[in-house]
Amino acid sequence: MPSQLAIFWRSFAENRGAVFGLGLMLLLILVAALADVMSLHGPIEQFRDNFLTPPVWEEGGTWRFPLGTDDVGRDMLSRLIHGARLSLMIGFTLVAVALTVGTSLGLTAAFVGGTVDVLIMRLIDVILVFPSLLLAIVVVAIIGPGLFNAMIAVAVVTLPGYVRLARASALVELNRDYVTATRAMGASMRRLMFDTVLPNCMAPLIVHATLGFSTAVLDAAALGFLGLGAQPPTPEWGTMLSSSLQYYQRAWWVLAFPGFAILVTVLAFNLFGDGLRDALDPKLKR
C-alpha cells in the first residue's frame, strides 16, 4: 500500500499548473536564499554615472547591469533579487502570524463556545466589514508607516479567513466520535484542541495559508506602493514601483520588472495553493 505522501503527490502532480507553480516557488525561494551570492551589486549601492541605464538587450545597455539601473543608479537585478528575499520573508512571517493567531482564536471559539464564541466571531465580522486594503491603511495610519507596521496591518486584515476556517473545521471535527472517545479517556481541553482536533483541521488551513501567502505579498506591496509600507531605500517591490512611477515613459524597465516579479510570485503561490486544495480535498478525488 503506497504511503499517504505518495498518494498525495500523485494527485498533486496531475495538475500541471500546480507543478509549475511549485517549481516557480522553489526557484523564488532559492533566489531569495542565495541573494547575497547571486546579485552582482549591493541592493542600495549607487552608480552615479549610470542613471536609468536600459537593460542589456536595449540600445545603451551593458552586462554590468543586466536589467538596467533605476533613477539613482542602482542595479535593478540586484534590487529585485533582494526584494524577493524581502517579499518571501514578509509572506512567510505574515502567514505564520495569521495562521497561528487565527487558528488559536478559531479553535478557542469552537471549543469554549457561548459568549467567548460570539465575542470572537463578531469581532471578526467587524474586521470583515471593511475592504481589506482600506482597513490596512487605517491601521498603518494609526501606528505609523514602515515595513513592520505594514505587516501588522496586513496580518490583521487577513486574520478573519483563518479564524472562520479553523472554527468551522473544528466544529465539524468536534462532533466526531473519536473526539468523544478521547474525551471519555479524560483528555484535557488543551490536548483535545491541539493534539486531537487541530491535525484533522489542517488540510483546509494549509491551503488557505498558501493562497493567503500571495494575498499577503500583494497587500504588503500595495502598502509599499502607497508609501505606507517599506520605506526607501529598502528594495521592496511595491516601494520600488512607487518611487519610479514618474519615469515610466522614459524608462519602462524600472516599472515593468518589479511589477513582473510581484506577478510571478503571486502566480506561483496561487497555482501551488490551487493544486494543493485539489490534492487535499477528498471530494475532488476520483
Binding site: D177, T180, T182, A184, M185, S188
Partner: protein, 322 residues
C-alpha cells in the same frame, strides 16, 4: 455478583428554543430510567431511532450529567459529586461507538491510538505503554505488523477491533457499546460479538449494549430494556422478555425481527405512525397513539413500570395482552 453501575430514575432534559421568536421547550431525551448492571453481565437497551438510547449511553459514560436522578458507579454517586470525583470514576467506563469510520482519529497510527489513553492518564513509561498496547492488539486479534498503520488502511471489522482495544486500554470495568456492530456486515458482526463475549468472560466486564437489532440482543444480552420515547417500557431478564413480552411495543418489535425460519415467523404486527415529538410528549402513555390496545386510560394516565411475569412492564393493559 457485584453491582458495578446503578441508575436510579435518571432523567436528562434539554432546554431548547427560547430564541427571539422560538417557543421554549424541554426535550425529555431520557425520562426516568433505572437499571443495575453487574460484573460479567450485559444489559441490552433496545428501541427505535430517537428513543434516547444513545443519550443514555452518553449519560452512562459520564459525558452528560443527568438533570435529575442518580447514577452510581461501583456504589459511588456521580451526579451529586464535584468534577474531580467524576473524572476519577469516568475512567472505569469506556465506550465503543457505532461508526468505526468516525471513532478513530484518522491522523494517528493504531499504536498511537492504543497508547493514547495511557499517555493521557500518565500511566507507566513509554516502554510499558507500548508493551500494553501490543498485548491488547493481540488480544483483539490484530497482527503486530499492523502497529504503524493508519485507520483508513483497515476494514470496518478491524477498525471496530481497534476501537474495542482502545476502550479496554484503561482496564475499565464497564463498557458502553453504542450499536457496535450495526455498521458491519453480518459475518463480521458475529466475529465482533464473539470477541466482545470472550473479553467479557475474561475480564468480567459489564456491558451496556445499545442496539436496535433484536437478533444481536438475543445473542449477547443477559437483561433487556426496551425504551420508547426516553422511557423504559419493558425491562427484565432476556429469557423472560423474549418469551413473554407484555408490552405491545415489545411485541411489535419482536414481530418485526426478520427470521429465516418460517415456523418462527409470527403474526404480522406492524407499527403504524411515527414517534411522538419528544418536544411535546402526550400526557399519558407515549405509545398510546400507535397502540392497538389503547384506551382512554392510556391517553390520560402515564403507566408506571410494574412487576409482571418476572420483569417490569409499563403498560396499563399488560395482563390482558398476551
Amino acid at each position: 455478583m457485584t453491582v458495578l453501575m446503578q441508575a436510579h430514575d435518571v432523567r436528562l432534559h434539554y432546554n431548547v428554543g427560547g430564541g427571539l421568536f422560538a417557543q421554549k421547550g424541554v426535550v425529555k431525551a431520557v425520562d426516568g430510567v433505572s437499571f443495575s448492571l453487574s460484573a460479567g453481565q450485559t444489559l441490552a437497551v433496545v428501541g427505535e431511532s430517537g428513543c434516547g438510547k444513545s443519550t443514555l449511553a452518553r449519560v452512562a459514560t459520564l459525558l452528560e450529567t443527568p438533570t435529575s436522578g442518580e447514577l452510581a458507579i461501583d456504589g459511588k454517586p456521580t451526579v451529586s459529586v464535584d468534577a474531580a470525583a467524576r473524572k476519577a470514576l469516568r475512567l472505569s467506563v469506556q465506550m465503543v461507538f457505532q461508526n468505526p469510520y468516525g471513532s478513530l482519529n484518522p491522523r494517528k497510527t493504531v499504536g498511537d491510538i492504543l497508547q493514547e489513553p495511557l499517555v493521557i492518564n500518565a500511566q507507566g513509561n513509554a516502554a510499558a505503554r507500548q508493551a500494553a498496547a501490543r498485548a491488547m492488539m493481540a488480544q483483539v486479534g490484530l497482527r503486530d505488523d499492523q502497529w504503524a498503520r493508519y485507520p483508513h488502511m483497515f476494514s470496518g471489522g478491524q477498525r471496530q477491533r481497534i476501537a474495542i482495544a482502545r476502550a479496554l486500554m484503561l482496564n475499565p470495568r464497564i463498557l458502553v457499546a453504542d450499536e457496535p456492530v450495526s455498521a458491519l456486515d453480518i459475518s463480521i458482526q458475529a466475529q465482533v460479538l464473539n470477541l466482545l463475549m470472550d473479553l467479557q468472560a475474561q475480564y468480567g466486564l459489564a456491558y451496556l449494549f445499545i442496539s436496535h437489532d433484536l437478533g444481536v440482543v438475543r445473542h449477547i444480552a443477559d437483561d433487556v430494556m426496551v425504551m420508547y420515547c426516553g422511557r423504559p417500557v419493558e425491562h427484565g431478564p432476556k429469557a423472560s422478555v423474549f418469551a413473554t413480552p407484555r408490552h405491545p411495543y415489545t411485541r411489535m418489535l419482536l414481530a418485526a425481527t426478520p427470521s429465516v425460519d418460517p415456523t418462527h415467523r409470527k403474526t404480522h404486527l406492524t407499527i403504524k405512525g411515527e414517534l411522538p415529538s419528544p418536544l411535546n410528549p402526550p400526557p399519558g402513555c407515549a405509545f398510546a397513539s400507535r397502540c392497538p390496545h389503547a384506551t382512554s386510560l392510556c391517553t390520560e394516565q402515564r403507566p408506571e413500570p410494574r412487576e409482571l411475569e418476572g420483569h417490569l412492564v409499563a403498560c396499563h393493559h399488560a395482563e390482558a395482552i398476551g
